[in-house]
Symmetry: C2
Subunit: 206 residues, 2 copies
DNA sequence: CCAGTTACGCTACGACCCGTAGCGAAAGCT
DNA sequence: AGCTTTCGCTACGGGTCGTAGCGTAACTGG
C-alpha cells in the first residue's frame, strides 16, 4: 500500500551507479548531438543501460536533461573579492563561462521552452536550478551591506522583491547576450554591465 | 544558369496567399499544441496546403516558426511619454504582454535553443527579430538626450556598445522574469526595474 | 495558340524515434 | 529458501520525418 516510499526495504535496489552513468551519458550526448537530436535510445546505449531503465526513472527527455544539467549550476560560487562590483563581475564571468559549455547552451533554453506548456517541468526547473542560485544574490547583498556599500532594506518583503529583480536582470542579461545576441561576455562587457547594475542599486537606495 | 533569381519571369508564380495562410496556420498551431508537438504535416493541413509545398519554401520547422513569429515583434512601439523612465516602462510592458501570448512564449526560447547548433538559423533570428528591435533603444536614447536626461556619448563606438548592453539587459530581464522565474511582469515590477535601469544609466554618465 | 517552365496537390515510401509490454535473470531482503 | 523489485533484452503499433514521383494548374515567350 506504500507505493512511493522514499527508501524501500525489500527487492533489488536501484543501481546508483547507473543513475550517474545515465546523467553523464546525457551530458556527453548533448555535447555531441545537441538537444533536438538527442534521443532516449542513444542515451541508454551510451550509458550501457536498457532503454526501459531510463523510462523507469524519468518520464521523458525533458526531466532527464533538467537533472543532467542542474548539477553543473552548483559549481557557481561567490568568492569575496572586496567590493560589490568585483563580486558581481566574478560571478557574472562564471555564469557566462558555464553558459558557454555546449551542454548547457543547447539544453537550457530548450527545457525552458518546453516548460512553457508543462507546469510540473517548470516547477522542477525552479527547484532544481533557479531557486538554488538565488543564494548568490542574497550572499552578495548581505556582504555589500556589511561593507556599508548598500543600506539594509527596511521591509523584508521589499528585500525579497529586490533580490528577485537583481537575479532576473543579471541572469537574463547574460543569457540574452550569449544566446540571443550571440556575442561574447568578455571583460569589457562585464565591466559595463556591472557599472550599470551597481549604479542602479546605489541610485535605488536613495 | 541563373538559379536563384529573386523574381523569375517564367513559370507559375508562387502563391502569396499560401505564404500568409501557412504563417497564420503556424501561429494558430503554436497556440493549440505548442512547439514540441507542432508538426509540418499539421501546419500543412491547417493551411489547406500540401506538405511538400511547405518544404519547397522552408527548410524545416525552425525556419518556418521564426518567420511566423517575427512579424509579431514589429508591433512594438515607443510612444513619447515625456520622460525616459516613462518611455522604458511603456515599452517593457508592451514586450511583456507580447511574451505572454502563447505563440511567442512557446516558440521564442525553442528557436533560440535550436540556434545554438545552427549558425544559419542564428543569423536568421538576428536579422528577422533581434536587430530590428534595437531601434527602440536607439530611439529612446536619442529622445532622452534631446530632453537633457542623458548626455550625448562622446565616442559613437561606445554608444553602440551601450545600446547593445541596454538591449540585452532589458530584453533579457523581461524574458527571464516571464519564462524562467515564471512570475508576472506587473506594474510594480516594471517600476522597480525601470528605476534600476535609469539609475544605472545616470550613474554611468558621470 | 502552343511549347516551355515552374508551382501545386496528392500518394507512397523507408527511416527513425516513441513509449510500452512481456519475458527470464539478477540482486537484495527476511 | 521464498519474496520482491530491478535489470537487460526483444518486439511491437503508432507517429513524424523528408523525399520521390506523378499528373495537373498557372503563367510566359515565341
Amino acid at each position: 500500500m506504500q507505493h512511493s516510499s522514499p527508501s524501500r526495504t525489500t527487492g533489488r535496489p536501484r543501481s546508483a551507479a547507473a543513475d550517474e552513468a545515465i546523467l553523464e551519458a546525457t551530458r556527453a550526448a548533448l555535447v555531441d548531438v545537441g538537444w533536438s537530436k538527442l534521443t532516449m535510445g542513444e542515451v541508454a546505449t551510451r550509458a550501457g543501460v536498457a532503454k526501459t531503465t531510463l523510462y523507469r526513472r524519468w518520464a521523458g527527455k525533458n526531466e532527464l536533461v533538467v537533472d543532467a544539467v542542474a548539477v553543473l549550476f552548483d559549481e557557481l560560487e561567490l568568492p569575496d573579492r572586496g567590493s560589490l562590483a568585483a563580486d558581481i563581475e566574478g560571478v557574472v564571468l562564471q555564469f557566462a563561462s558555464l553558459l558557454d559549455r555546449p551542454e548547457t547552451k543547447t539544453a537550457l533554453m530548450a527545457v525552458v521552452a518546453e516548460a512553457t506548456r508543462d507546469e510540473p517541468l517548470r516547477e522542477r526547473i525552479r527547484t532544481s536550478i533557479v531557486e538554488r542560485q538565488k543564494r548568490l544574490v542574497l550572499v552578495g547583498r548581505a556582504r555589500a551591506e556589511r561593507r556599508g556599500e548598500l543600506p539594509a532594506p527596511a521591509d523584508p518583503c521589499v528585500a525579497a522583491a529586490a533580490a528577485d529583480l537583481i537575479f532576473d536582470v543579471a541572469a537574463g542579461a547574460v543569457v540574452h547576450r550569449v544566446l540571443v545576441s550571440g556575442e561574447p561576455v568578455d571583460q569589457e562587457w562585464v565591466r559595463r554591465f556591472t557599472a550599470l547594475l551597481v549604479g542602479g542599486l546605489a541610485a535605488a537606495a536613495d
